[in-house]
Every structure is written in structure tokens, then in C-alpha cells.
């Protein structure tokens, strides 16, 4: 179960509240001020490192001072406008949280290519983004005047941070524009009576850029030519692709050795875990109600798993208002015994209940904290405990490590949520634990199977029955998507899903009631469908495509250029098995040859068989990888082009006496 860390959306996240100190700040950083216009920059019309860019950041400076009494951050930015579209960067919006900061000392100006300067003398507006009882999320907005292509716009401002607080902070180097040059500094909070320590981690910095702390304790870094960040389909989490430095304040003693660091983390978390699950007697009584002594070990694990998933999981309920929560009068769950008695818990607690129960049933089992790969890819050398944010249970069975997460709703027995698969985690024990890697399910475990019995009419329509079976993670995510909806919405959801898989207008009617509440059972949807005019006219002949459910693959990787790795959430398979009965009197002139593409981590097979008056179409597509380097992009693109080519192979039919028409 994923444990979500709460992030604020402003520039800073509150970390710790400090006691007021008798500390006289030394104003080591003055506001950056405007820089004199540089003739080369004024003349510039394009940037070779960013051809076609609407604008580039010529220079950016961030100077932060975390002293206790006048903490603040000075920000300066200078932007060269290269195209008409780039003029939008003259509209500036700086969000901030009123509770913890203000924006002051805003100065801005426009410098024309001839060097003339127009100081900003307009109004700075304050915009409410959201203002409630306890939070004021606002933005300062302004726009520079007389901005034209070739202009340089520059502005600076100061975040006036709340006194006597320190905040974690971040240098996010990447932006949607290329940054030619940037300089950053951070003067850490220090007090001789405090154990507060600052440490920092970084990711994907430009070559030669490393934050360094000087003798004056100030951390500084310079960087140049930071590429613009962009988005692409099937890309890894943005955090993994952005250049950044994260500063973390901690009141713990500094530990530079990752092994020792994680041992300490592991011991602390193990203590918390054992305190929660250490109710052996209660758990033994509970297990006795769930399993029978004669059950096989696997059956026991499964029965316990199913029982835990039946317990009310509060993590998946609709968000409730304060009043609703208060009225429920539900006591907090302190341990697994509480959970078992009260019949509710959150996802993390339910997964730990499973651990306690399987241990009580005699299994060797461990609690593990793993790193969800939705937002980050975990690296233990970067000592960030909060990134171990999802809990799973490891059970040793017949020499194998099996992983479970029943606290994640609809997760089938033996699987984890996609973000928990194939990731590093810490298996907890009293000695601090050991590193593990969760299993990555095979593509065959998350499958979409489409079986169809269809008839081709002599007017070229295709109609009949289709059964779609989703298994594994494919079923799980469908169930999660619509878990709060009713039958009407479920029906529309499934019908829309099917329609989106056919490259033609289609009528589809769901005719069964899929099992939306299960987790281990496949999700089976049965449809009556009609595809008007599916057969194409070829004069006296009629042709049919060799595959039907091809729309999704039609638009994958259309573009030749690729900047970032290709990232899939989990391996999967699609299997189609389709029978098409021909109209009476029709015959098959030819069927396409079988197609087979084996790209090692991707595979595709297509076959058309002519069985007298029925065509039998089979298709299998397997995607069996999580991430591929960009250098493999062209090979992958070629593979999907081959898939599309195969899908468009044609079956040639000869109508009977009455010709097909559409």
C-alpha cells in the first residue's frame, strides 16, 4: 500500500518549526539586481542549443538565506524572447502560501534589442488561487510592457519567508526553456544550540555542476546549458528527468555511510512495525477463524489474503468532510488487534494485518518498505527515507520469496500494484533489514483476451458477440478506475473501452454483469457488437482486415524523434481469437501469410485461417519490459510499424450471387 507523502504546491514544504533564536542575521546576499545588457545577448536571434525555441533563459540566480529571523530567497531571471510565441513569458505569475511566505521587492524591466530600457511601472496583482480557513494560496502576477521579439525581459523578487521556521527547499534547474547559465546558493540555518543538520541530494545535474559547501558554510552551484524539459508519451516520471537539488533539514545526527544510514532507518521502522503487529495471541485466534489446519500452505495464504481484502479499507473510500469523519466516531487503529476487532483500517494497516496473520499461521514473513516508482526511481545511495513509501509483505514459501499487498484494493493474490513491482525495498528486521527487489510479473499475468464469434453480413457489416477478459493488473486497474461508480457507469465504461479498440465506428452493448468487486477473479465483459461497413469494397471482390482490435496500436510511437527513455508501467499481453462466419455462398480467395515479430522484449503474432465458411483470426501482442533507453526507440518504433502493417493485412473474399455493397 502506498503511503502518500503530503507535498505543498508552493516553492517550499514546511519541514520543522524552530525555536526563536537570539540570532542576528548577516545580510550576505543582497538582491541580485539587474545586470547590464550584454551586446551579444541583445543581438541574439536564435540559440544553437535550442533551435526553434520561443525563448531561452539567459541567466537565473537563486540566493537563499535560511537564517532564523529574516529568512528569504532572492530570485532573478533574464529571458531572451526569440519568437512571437515567446512573448508569453512576459506574463509572470509567482505563486506563494500566505501562511509561510510573501513575495516582495518585485522589479522588472524590458530591454529592447537597441539597448533601450523600459522599466516596469505597472501594477502587481494579487490573485487568489485558493483561500480557506487555514490556508491562503495566492499568486503575484504582472506583465511587462512593450515586449517584442528580440527583447530581453528580466525581473527579480524576494520570497520573504516566515521567521523562526526552516523549510526544505529545492533547486529545480529544469524548466520548459533552455537555461544558458544559472547560479544558486543556500546559506543554511545554523545555531550553536541546535542539532539541525542540512544535507542535500541531486539528480541529473549538468556535467561539471555539483553543489559545494564553502568555508562560509554556504552551498553554491553554477550550471550552464540546462536543456528544456519536455513531455513525451510513455516517459519515466518527470522527477527522474529533471535536473534538481533537494535540500533536507534533519534533527538527526549526520550519517554519510548509506549502509549505516539505512540500518538506522530499518531499525526504527522495524520497531514501529513490530509494535503494530505484535499481537500474536489475537492473531492466532483470528487465523483459526480463517484457515483450516488441513489447508495447503498456499491455500492458507490465499484464504488469509481474501479475508484481509474483505475488511473495510478506508484508503479507498471517498474523501469525507470533517463533519462526516467526526460523526463516524471511529477510533484510531493502534495495532492489528484493534484493526481485526473494529473491522476497518487503512491500506498500510491492512497489509500489516496480513503480515501478522500469516506469521500467526506459521509462515516466515517480513514486512517490507519499498519505493513506489510512480514519482521517483529509488537509489539507496541517496539517503531519502521518505522514498520508501509503500509497504508490502514478503512470505517465504518453498524457498521462494512471494510478495503481497492486500491493502491495495483489487490487487490480485500474488501480485503487487504496478508501482510496487520490480522495485527496491527494505526487508525489515531487528538488525535494520536487508535490501530486496520485488518481483516483476510476467506479461502473461496481466492480459487482455478478446474472443469473438462474428458474422459478416452480405452488406459488409460485422456483428456478433465479443467476450473480453481482463486478468492481473489489467483487471485491477479497471476495477480501481470505476470503484465509486454504479452499474450504468460501469456499462458505459466497458462499452467505451471496447469502442476505443476498434478503428471504426462501432455499436457495442454490454450484455453481462462483470464482477467488479473481486480481485482474484478475471474481469469478464460480454458484448453484442456491430461494425457497420467493416468489409471494404474492391470491385467484384471484398476485403477484410486481418485484425479488428487494433486502434490502440495505431498511434503508438508515430514520431521519429525521441528524447527520453520509453517507460511502461507493467508488462502485458493482448490475445485475440476471432471467428468470422461468412455469408452463404461467399468464398475465401486468399488469406494473408502468418506474421511473426519477435523483438525480444516485444513480440507479435498474427494468423488467419480459412476454415471453410469461417475465418479464424488469432493475434498476440506481448510487451515485456518496463524501461528502454532512447537508443532502442527506433527499433521499438519499427516493431510497432510492423504490428500495424500486420494488422492491416487483407483477407480477400469472393461474394456469392449477391455482391457485397456498402
Amino acid at each position: 500500500m502506498l503511503l502518500r507523502r503530503v507535498f505543498s504546491t508552493g516553492c517550499c514544504a514546511v519541514s520543522l518549526i524552530l525555536a526563536a533564536a537570539n540570532f542576528v542575521p548577516v545580510p550576505v546576499f543582497a538582491s541580485a539586481g539587474f545586470q547590464p545588457p550584454n551586446p551579444d545577448e541583445l543581438k541574439m536571434t536564435s540559440e544553437p542549443l535550442a533551435p526553434g525555441a520561443p525563448a531561452i533563459i539567459l541567466y537565473r540566480q537563486v540566493d537563499r538565506d535560511d537564517n532564523a529571523q529574516t529568512p528569504h530567497e532572492d530570485d532573478y531571471i533574464r529571458i531572451k524572447i526569440l519568437t512571437e510565441e515567446g512573448r508569453k513569458y512576459a506574463d509572470v505569475e509567482i505563486p506563494f502560501f500566505r501562511e509561510s511566505e510573501d513575495i516582495v521587492k518585485i522589479r522588472a524591466r524590458t530591454v529592447h534589442p537597441d539597448g533601450s530600457i523600459i522599466n516596469f511601472e505597472g501594477k502587481v496583482y494579487e490573485k487568489i488561487i485558493e483561500k480557506g480557513r487555514s490556508s491562503h494560496y495566492l499568486a503575484k502576477t504582472f506583465t511587462l510592457q512593450d515586449v517584442e521579439v528580440g527583447s530581453i525581459i528580466e525581473y527579480y523578487f524576494t520570497y520573504d519567508l516566515r521567521e523562526h521556521y526552516v523549510y526544505d527547499s529545492h533547486w529545480i534547474l529544469s524548466s520548459d526553456l533552455l537555461t544558458k547559465s544559472a547560479a544558486f546558493s543556500l546559506k543554511p540555518y545554523t545555531a550553536y544550540y541546535s542539532t539541525m543538520q542540512l544535507r542535500w541530494t541531486w539528480h541529473d545535474l549538468p556535467i561539471g555542476s555539483v553543489p559545494k559547501q564553502g568555508p562560509d558554510k554556504i552551498v553554491r552551484m553554477e550550471a550552464s546549458n540546462i536543456p528544456a524539459f519536455q513531455t513525451e508519451d510513455f516517459m519515466p516520471p518527470a522527477n527522474e528527468l529533471m535536473s534538481r537539488v533537494d535540500f533536507i533539514y534533519s534533527d538527526e545526527l549526520p550519517e554519510n555511510n548509506p549502509d549505516k544510514f539505512w540500518k538506522n532507518v530499518g531499525k526504527k521502522r522495524n520497531g514501529q512495525l513490530e509494535s503494530f503487529v505484535g499481537k500474536r495471541k489475537a492473531m492466532e485466534d483470528a487465523v483459526a477463524q480463517i484457515v483450516s489446519p488441513s489447508d495447503s500452505p498456499e491455500l492458507k495464504l490465499r484464504k488469509i489474503y481474501d479475508r484481509v481484502q474483505q475488511i473495510r479499507n478506508k484508503s479507498y473510500e471517498l474523501r469525507k468532510t470533517e463533519q462526516e469523519v467526526k460523526r463516524e466516531k471511529e477510533k484510531p487503529v493502534e495495532n492489528v488487534e484493534d484493526l481485526w476487532k473494529r473491522g476497518y483500517g487503512n491500506g498500510v494497516q491492512l497489509t500489516w494485518l496480513y503480515l501478522a496473520l500469516v506469521r500467526a499461521a506459521g509462515f516466515e514473513a517480513y514486512g517490507c518498505w519499498v519505493s513506489d516508482r510512480r514519482e521517483y526511481f529509488f537509489n539507496p545511495k541517496i539517503m531519502e527515507p521518505y522514498k520508501l513509501n509503500a509497504n508490502v509483505v514478503l512470505v517465504k514459501l518453498n524457498g521462494k520469496d512471494l510478495y503481497f499487498d492486500p491493502g491495495a484494493e483489487f490487487t490480485p493474490f500474488g501480485l503487487l500494484t504496478w508501482a510496487e513491482t520490480g522495485v527496491i525495498g527494505l526487508r525489515l528486521d531487528k538488525d535494520g533489514g536487508t535490501w530486496i527487489q520485488t518481483t516483476l510479473p510476467a506479461a502473461s499475468e496481466s492480459r487482455m483476451e478478446r474472443r469473438a464469434n462474428l458474422k459478416l453480413t452480405d452488406t459488409g457489416d460485422l456483428e456478433g458477440k465479443v467476450t473480453v477478459t481482463y486478468t492481473g493488473l489489467e483487471a485491477m486497474y479497471h476495477r480501481l478506475d470505476v470503484r465509486h461508480d454504479d452499474d450504468v457507469a460501469h456499462k458505459k465504461f466497458m462499452e467505451d473501452r471496447l469502442k476505443s479498440q476498434v478503428p471504426a465506428a462501432i455499436e457495442a452493448e454490454l450484455v453481462n454483469k462483470p464482477d467488479w468487486s473481486g480481485s482474484g477473479t478475471p474481469l469478464v465483459a460480454e458484448f453484442d457488437i456491430k461494425i457497420p461497413g467493416w468489409a471494404a469494397n474492391a470491385g467484384k471482390r471484398v476485403v477484410l482486415p486481418a485484425a479488428i482490435f487494433t486502434e490502440v496500436e495505431k498511434h503508438i510511437f508515430e514520431h521519429a524523434n525521441r528524447a527520453y527513455p520509453i517507460y511502461f508501467e507493467y508488462p502485458y499481453e493482448k490475445i485475440d481469437d476471432i471467428a468470422i462466419e461468412l455469408p452463404p455462398g461467399w468464398s475465401v480467395n486468399s488469406v494473408p501469410p502468418a506474421q511473426a515479430q519477435d523483438g525480444h522484449v516485444v513480440a507479435y503474432d498474427l494468423k488467419v485461417e480459412n476454415r471453410k465458411d469461417t475465418l479464424h483470426l488469432t493475434r498476440k501482442l506481448t510487451v515485456d519490459f518496463l524501461i528502454l533507453e532512447p537508443k532502442y526507440y527506433m527499433a521499438l518504433r519499427n516493431f510497432f510499424q510492423a504490428v500495424r502493417t500486420g494488422d492491416e493485412e487483407q483477407i480477400v473474399l469472393q461474394p456469392g450471387a449477391a455482391s457485397a455493397s456498402n
Binding site: G52, D91, V147, D176, K320, T321, A505, I506, A536, G539
Partner: protein, 675 residues
């Protein structure tokens, strides 16, 4: 006003009232004992409890909620002060109906939310109550607006679950710009019972008009007050390509005035509204010396009036950056032209103001046209009301000035020939207007008043793609060759718009890749270039060359070739189970042509070709044919949209039309070995 004039594309709709808070009229009330509910213990008020057991008709299974009761009480206190009280209650029928638990009450610098409370009566258990202190304030302007005083108070009512009843009351005090209100009683959910009350000061009168609903007579409630009631109003479910909601929903427009001061009401008729706007603008069009100098510079080398107008238009389109600052009356009133010029930015009405100012310097008269960017929001049949969210310019063409580039013109009985021009849209050439303006209704504002006029519909040829390809097929089935696409009108501006946001040169081929990807299983672009990307007064286009392996499919010794190589015109828009309820709206008239010349490989001859298609339904037509001449196959097709709206009664014809196109697009020719 319904909306400020800031080129509004889409505003969030308040849960409570579908009209925006900016409606001129904001309301009052107090008649009919509308006393804010004072209750103990957080119980829902009696008026909500009275609804718990009301009998309801059977709604279809897709109905999310039913508006059990709605009451809007508007009290006009004086010409500059109004009060509106609203109470509404919904029964939640489906999970999607939970959204009614979120109440949004818009306000701005002219208005104040003086009270706000909400309740839930659960099917079981005690009632819930939330108050104004539980609400949050949020910005309520589109992202593209830099500064706005528009805000919304959002209150979350607990437990808006299926089977429960949620309700709320609020009161807004308003200093209106216009003495008019719009009661929008027809919503996305069915409404069981809705009331609207109006109380006017002694001596005041009102005028009502009903839109999309038969007129309902009020009952007099005494003390110069009236009450209207509608019951069992059906819901309006969204359909793709339907007219704008405001153009089909039942509404009552009510204007009020003193018996001696109809002119105080800017919305009494279109003429008065035009006069009001003209007065509001006042002398803001007057040029400064800097503007005069700029006009002189722009026009110095231009020898004709048309060239001078084009130079000014291009300057305002391209050099004046779009920035919207909507504060108070600034939502309607443009900035003075000198300020706009010195800042080099402004919103739609600012751009219209500057272009007017500059044109005046060359002796050309022009006028504001207030309009809604969604055609159908304001129609010729509607009474005067401000459903406008955009401002453009109508230019009085000098006598004798004619030019083939001046398309968007009408002959005005008094002003002569006028040309419509939208200086905010920098992608449509001077002389033309975008599809969103064509056949749309706008308020022409002249110094002496205003009139609602219909803008012209441009010929379909003005919005077109002409695609020609010269292609060669080799014996292995690979198709290769060159394609040229010439795009006009919106077909051009939409691509330019998309390409201008591209941040890397290498990404400029992506539209071509996507076009080819939608038609070809496998392809490699071997060359691609843009035509007139920056020259917006010229047709835009693509030139590209591609190679598509395995384009022709082998079938025994035959080769199967789809002659429609690129482009898709079919649509599944009407492939739904539910019968269509509203007309289908096209964005603009369109005429696209494809001409593909395919040279077949030596050793093959054409054995069979698909039949020609000729489908003409009046509102649209489609023609295609495949002609073989020696070893060359010519495929040509024309797709034309002639009318902007297809009535519901012809929806089935449109569905058939799209099916015919889809079928033709799949059709195949057969090549066989030469004898």
C-alpha cells in the same frame, strides 16, 4: 453582463446557477418570506425536509440527480443595488450526482456573498449543516486572464451520496452594471419545481422574454412583486457538437426600469445596449501623438487605402500582445488607445480599440462588434441581453474599395459595405474571419446606438485543404512519393496555432507524422517543410515526401492497394444508441480535396477498382472516384460542408453520410500480374 469581454473560451459553471455571476443583474429577493433559515442543532431547514417524500416521476437510469426545488428571489433596491437569494435542493440519484454537494457562488468587486449555508438530509441519520466559514475562495477566471477580481466561494456539503438530499441557500448583494437578470431554470439535470420572484421598487416595471421555453405568466404577489413557476423541466444532456448550452436551455430574461427611465436600462433593446457601450468607450479611441506617428510609419510606403488598412491590422494583430486584465468595469470597458499602444498589450476590446484608433488616423471609420465566441449563444430571435464575451471590429470600407481578399463583408443599409475583422486572432488574414464568427450574431456598436447583426458565412472554399500527391508503387508493395498540402482559413490557422507552440525545430514535423500515422501502418518521412508558416496572409501548407513499406498487400499473386492513401473524413459522432436531441453544429463551411496519382509497378495491371461515390445531402457532400489511365491510377475526392447546422430530423442522414465516407476510405483496388 453574462460575460466579460476577454475572449473567454470556457468558464467554470457554478453548481448553483449556470449563468455567471457577472450577469448584469444580480438579484434580490425577499418576497415570499424568503427568510434565511434559522435553525438549531444543524438540522436542514423545513423547506428541505418538506421535499423528502415528494413523489417523483421515473427518470431514466442515466439521470444523476433531480433538482427538487429551486427558488430565486431577486430584489431590486435601487438602480445600483440588488439582492439575490437562492435556495436549491437536489436529490442524488447516481454517484455522478455527488457533484451537487459542491456549491459554487461567484462574486467579484461589484458583488458580495452575504450568506451561504448548505445542508444534507441523509437517507438515514441526522442532518448535516455547513456554513460560510467552511467555504473556500478561489480565483474564477480562465488561466489566460492575468488579473481578475472574479472569485468563487466553494462550499462542500457533507455526504452528497446516492439517496441523500443536498440543499443550500445563499444571498448575494450586487451593484449591477445592467438592470437585467437571466433565470436559467433548465439545467443538466431534470428540475421538478422552480420559482423565480422579482420585487421592484415602487414605480418600476419589468419586461420578460422566454428563450427555448413557452412563456409562463407570473402571479402577482403584491407590493410590486411577481412570481413565476415552472415544473418538471427536462434535463439537457450534453451531446457532442451540439449548440452551446445557453442556446438551447430554457431561460427567462427579465429587464427592469423605472416607468420614466427605460433608458437607464442598457439591456432594454439592442439599440440602447449599443448606446451604453458607445458611451462607456467614450473618447478612449482617440489617438495619441505616438499612435499617429506609428500610423504614419506603418502607412508611409503604402500606396492604397487597402494596403494601409492591412498594415494597421497586421500591426495590432501581431505586435500587440494579448493580455487580459479584467477588474470591475474593466471587464467591459477597454483601456484608452494610448495606454494600449504604449504598453503594447491588451485584450480583445483593447485590440479592437487600438485598431479603430489607428484606422481613424487614415480616415477609415470602424465600430465595435460585441459577440460570443460560441455561435448560437446569441441569436437573432433573442431579446437584448449580454451573452457576449468577445469584441471585434467592423470596418466601414471606403467607397469603391473592392478586393478579392475582402471576404468577410456585409452590405449595411446605413453604413454601406462593412468588413469584419478580429484583431485578437493573429492567424486569420485581414479580410477573413474565423469559423467561430461566421453566421454568428454580434452587436454592432455605433455612436448613435446598436443593432444585432448577422456576420457573413464565408464560402467553403475559404476553409480548405487541397492535398495533391504524386506517388509510385513498387512491386514489393512500397509506396513512395511527394505530397503537397495547401490549407486555407481555419484549416491553416489551426495548424499554425499548433506549430507556434512547438519549442523545437525538430518537432515541426510532428503534425505530418500524425497525419501519416493515422492513415499508414508504416512510413518514413524523407523530406518535410512548411509553406508560409509565418506569412499568415498567405495560404499555409506542408510539402513532404514519404515512403511506406508494405503499403500494398499481397493476396496470392494480387496486390491490394487502398487508393485513399492519406486523410480521414469519416466520423463516429452519431454512432450512439441514444437518439439525437440537438442539432449537429459544424465549426465552419469546409471544402477539402484529395488528388492522388499512383503509378503502379510494371508487370501489374489494374484488375478491379472501387466504385465511385456520390453522396450529396444538401448540408454536406462527398464525391470520390478512381480512374485508371494506363499504369496510372488517379483517385480524387471532395468533402464539403455547406451548412453550419444539421437539424435533429436529419441526423440519421448525417450518420449515413459518415458511414459512406468511412466505407469509401477503406475501399481497395486490386492489381494483378500483366497478362
Amino acid at each position: 453582463m453574462k460575460s466579460k469581454l476577454c475572449c473567454n473560451l470556457e468558464r467554470p459553471v457554478p453548481a448553483t446557477r449556470s449563468r455567471t455571476w457577472l450577469s448584469l443583474v444580480w438579484v434580490i429577493g425577499c418576497i415570499l418570506a424568503f427568510v434565511p433559515s434559522a435553525l438549531a442543532g444543524g438540522d436542514a431547514p423545513a423547506w428541505m425536509h418538506a421535499l423528502v417524500n415528494v413523489p417523483l416521476p421515473t427518470y431514466d437510469e442515466k439521470t444523476d440527480a433531480v433538482l427538487l426545488y429551486s427558488e430565486t428571489n431577486v430584489t431590486v433596491i435601487s438602480a445600483d443595488k440588488m439582492r439575490t437569494q437562492v435556495r436549491e435542493a437536489y436529490k442524488i440519484l447516481r454517484p455522478n450526482g455527488r457533484e451537487h454537494g459542491t456549491v459554487k457562488v461567484p462574486f467579484d468587486a461589484q458583488s458580495k456573498v452575504s450568506s451561504l449555508r448548505g445542508w444534507c438530509i441523509p437517507a438515514q441519520g441526522k442532518d448535516y449543516e455547513v456554513k460560510e466559514k467552511d467555504a473556500v475562495e478561489q480565483a474564477y477566471a480562465p488561466d489566460f486572464v492575468l488579473a481578475s477580481d472574479a472569485k468563487v466561494k466553494t462550499l462542500q456539503i457533507p455526504a452528497p451520496d446516492v439517496g441523500n438530499i443536498v440543499g443550500y441557500e445563499y444571498e448575494v448583494e450586487d451593484r449591477p452594471f445592467f438592470l437585467q437578470d437571466i433565470w436559467d431554470f433548465q439545467k443538466a439535470d431534470p428540475a421538478r419545481e422552480s420559482h423565480y420572484s422579482l420585487q421592484l421598487p415602487a414605480g418600476w416595471e419589468y419586461k420578460v422574454s422566454w428563450l427555448n421555453h413557452p412563456e409562463v405568466k407570473p402571479t402577482e404577489a403584491g407590493n410590486n412583486s411577481w412570481r413565476w413557476t415552472v415544473s418538471d423541466v427536462s434535463e439537457i444532456k450534453k451531446e457532442p457538437e451540439m449548440p452551446p448550452f445557453g442556446g438551447v436551455a430554457g431561460q427567462m430574461v427579465v429587464s427592469f426600469f423605472t416607468s420614466s427611465g427605460r433608458a437607464l436600462n442598457a439591456n432594454i433593446d439592442w439599440d440602447t445596449m449599443g448606446k451604453w457601450y458607445s458611451d462607456l468607450v467614450g473618447e478612449r479611441v482617440d489617438a495619441s501623438s505616438e499612435i499617429k506617428q506609428q500610423v504614419a510609419t506603418l502607412t508611409a510606403s503604402k500606396t492604397t487605402k487597402l494596403q494601409q488598412m492591412q498594415a494597421i491590422a497586421g500591426f495590432v494583430q501581431h505586435d500587440i500582445r494579448y493580455v487580459a486584465i479584467e477588474l470591475g468595469i474593466g471587464g467591459f470597458q477597454p483601456h484608452p488607445a494610448p495606454d494600449i499602444f504604449s504598453h503594447h498589450y491588451g485584450d480583445c476590446k483593447d485590440k479592437a480599440t487600438l485598431v479603430r484608433s489607428m484606422l481613424r488616423e487614415i480616415g477609415v471609420d470602424s465600430y465595435y462588434v460585441l459577440i460570443n465566441h460560441e455561435r448560437g449563444s446569441v441569436t437573432g430571435e433573442m431579446p437584448a441581453h449580454n451573452g457576449f464575451d468577445h469584441a471585434i471590429t467592423a470596418i466601414k470600407l471606403p467607397d469603391g474599395l473592392t478586393d478579392s481578399s475582402l471576404i468577410a463583408t456585409v452590405q449595411h443599409p446605413k453604413l454601406g459595405r462593412i468588413l469584419f475583422f478580429d484583431p485578437t486572432n493573429d492567424l486569420i488574414p485581414f479580410g477573413q474571419i474565423g469559423g467561430y464568427l461566421q453566421a454568428n450574431y454580434g452587436l454592432l456598436v455605433t455612436p448613435t446606438g446598436g443593432e444585432l447583426i448577422e456576420l457573413p458565412q464565408q464560402p467553403s472554399m475559404m476553409n480548405s485543404i487541397q492535398r495533391t500527391a504524386k506517388l509510385t508503387l513498387d512491386p514489393t508493395g512500397t509506396l513512395r512519393g511527394d505530397v503537397k498540402e495547401v490549407r486555407l482559413g481555419e484549416r491553416a490557422s489551426s495548424e499554425r496555432w499548433r506549430l507556434r507552440t512547438v519549442t523545437k525545430d525538430v518537432d515541426r514535423i510532428k503534425p505530418i507524422e500524425e497525419l501519416l500515422g493515422s492513415s499508414l501502418a508504416s512510413f518514413h518521412l524523407t523530406h518535410a517543410s512548411l509553406i508560409n508558416f509565418q506569412q499568415t496572409d498567405q495560404p499555409f501548407g506542408f510539402n513532404y515526401s514519404f515512403e511506406s513499406p508494405n503499403y500494398a498487400k499481397s493476396a496470392g499473386n494480387l496486390l491490394l492497394v487502398r487508393p485513399r492513401v492519406i486523410g480521414n473524413k469519416g466520423s463516429g459522432l452519431l454512432e450512439t444508441k441514444e437518439p439525437r436531441r440537438f442539432p449537429i453544429e459544424f465549426e465552419e463551411p469546409t471544402r477539402d480535396t484529395d488528388t492522388f496519382e499512383i503509378t503502379i509497378p510494371s508487370g501489374y495491371v489494374v484488375d478491379d477498382i472501387p466504385p465511385p461515390v456520390d453522396a450529396d445531402y444538401g448540408f454536406a457532400s462527398y464525391h470520390s472516384k478512381t480512374v485508371v489511365t494506363g499504369n496510372v491510377v488517379d483517385y480524387t475526392r471532395t468533402f464539403e460542408v455547406k451548412e453550419l447546422s444539421v437539424p435533429v430530423s436529419r441526423a440519421e442522414e448525417l450518420r449515413k453520410f459518415y458511414r459512406i465516407i468511412a466505407s469509401d476510405e477503406r475501399n481497395t483496388m486490386v492489381l494483378k500480374p500483366s497478362p
